[in-house]
Amino acid sequence: MNEHNEPRPEFVSNLEWQVRTSFHRHERFAEPVNANLGGKMKIGVLVLASALMGAGGVVVKDGVQEARAQEVLIARINAEVRMAELEAEFVQNRLMETESQFEAGVVTRDALESARVAATEAEQNLQRLRLDLEEVQLSGKEPRNDMSAPLVDGRDFVLERLGAEEAIASAWVALVSQQVDRVQELHEVGMIDDADLTEGLLALDEAEAQLESVQARMVLRRRFLDGALTAQEADLALERAEVEAEIELLRGNLDAALLHYQGLEERVQIGAIHPSELERARLELQRLETELEFLQIKLSTLMGELSDS
């Protein structure tokens, strides 16, 4: 090891003292153990007992209500499927029109790509709702999308729905990527400024983050089904992946806000704008930084829970 990377002995001993002091400080001011726990437990037992005594009388009534709730649930999803079918048909017709217009040179390639993504989105939404309907018909319960949801009649509806989401996310990445390529070309020849380029790159980051988030969920789901993760670990890992994705997006926004702030700084210096605009941008920057710090603390806590579980 490079000797410059070794800590000084006095630093190690001083930090040990700080760690020890901090440990005692938290010990001294820790929340007291609840002395009334026994009393609360007794009340809990009484509540539970009375609930159980009343339960027998309502079992039959609950069964009827449950069957009715299932009927309502199936009817609701059926209606959603019909709406989605109409939407998919409409969007498909629009796509065919746009294709003809593009061939005739009336619309741009971007418009055509957007119409294709809209058609994919509508088709995948329809597919997702049909999966929901199948799951409800088989299980009699609301569709479950959590990582630890059980298989229903041998089928993995969670992964099937994620597959549909992945297709949409991939289509978005491809579309935004093409748009960013064009934006970069325009930026290189000076047709657009840094802010437009940053906005394009942010949109690409968002699309990629969305795709990666779906793929991460697919990996987690497979690992749960393989038995490599418990239900608690799978749910915690999902939460962690979501917080990490939020952090990624926030970092992109922070970069854009910083760039905006620096641009305003220059304009204030030459008197082109009022300083209050700079102040507003500074506040926005601080808000984003605070939000980022909060998410990082949340991530550290989740990591602690993950390693404990």
Partner: protein
């Protein structure tokens, strides 16, 4: 967690943590000590609340890494004049240990602007020396997927550094 467990963990982990931080900030002693200290103080609070994690060193390194990223992200005007033409080799090759604080700051500045998943990948492969297969197993991905992600991460890092390195940067 009792005091003796904490102190044993401290004695086992303080040097690996310091070395990790110091290597990432180009042996900048002041910064390495500040980050190591802050990491331990956060650890005491978190571990008192939720107990000692299974892998304390990994926990500490992650927190330290985030603190370093925050530090470098808040330094938007770092001078990159000192960055040599072979910066990529110095970051990604065997010379990473001998980087100056300025070079380390410049590289950390770039890494802090990558997506966390991308910077973690570059650090794991180039700085920690993990094999593609090991990373793939940890992330639950195929080796091909990891290689693709590494390639994209390096490309993005190059893009980020490009305007800052200048004509002598040797980047195309």
């Amino acid at each position: 967690m009792d005091e003796s467990t904490l102190l044993k963990t401290y004695n086992d982990a303080v040097r690996p943590l310091y070395e990790y931080v110091s290597r990432r900030c180009g042996s900048d002693r002041g910064l390495a000590e500040d980050v190591t200290q802050e990491t331990w103080l956060r650890a005491v609070v978190a571990w008192k609340k939720s107990g000692l994690p299974d892998k304390p060193v990994a926990w500490l390194k992650t927190v330290a890494r985030n603190l370093l990223l925050n530090y470098y992200r808040k330094a938007p005007h770092i001078s990159l004049e000192a960055l040599p033409a072979d910066w990529e080799q110095r970051l990604l090759g065997d010379g990473a240990d001998g980087r100056s604080p300025d070079e380390a700051a410049a590289v950390a500045w770039g890494l802090a602007r990558l997506k966390p998943a991308q910077s973690k990948l570059i650090e794991a492969y180039h700085l920690e020396g993990m094999k593609v297969g090991e990373i793939a197993a940890e992330l639950g991905l195929s080796e091909r997927a990891v290689e693709g992600r590494l390639r994209r991460a390096r490309l993005k890092l190059r893009k980020i550094m490009k305007p800052l390195v200048g004509s002598s940067g040797g980047l195309s």
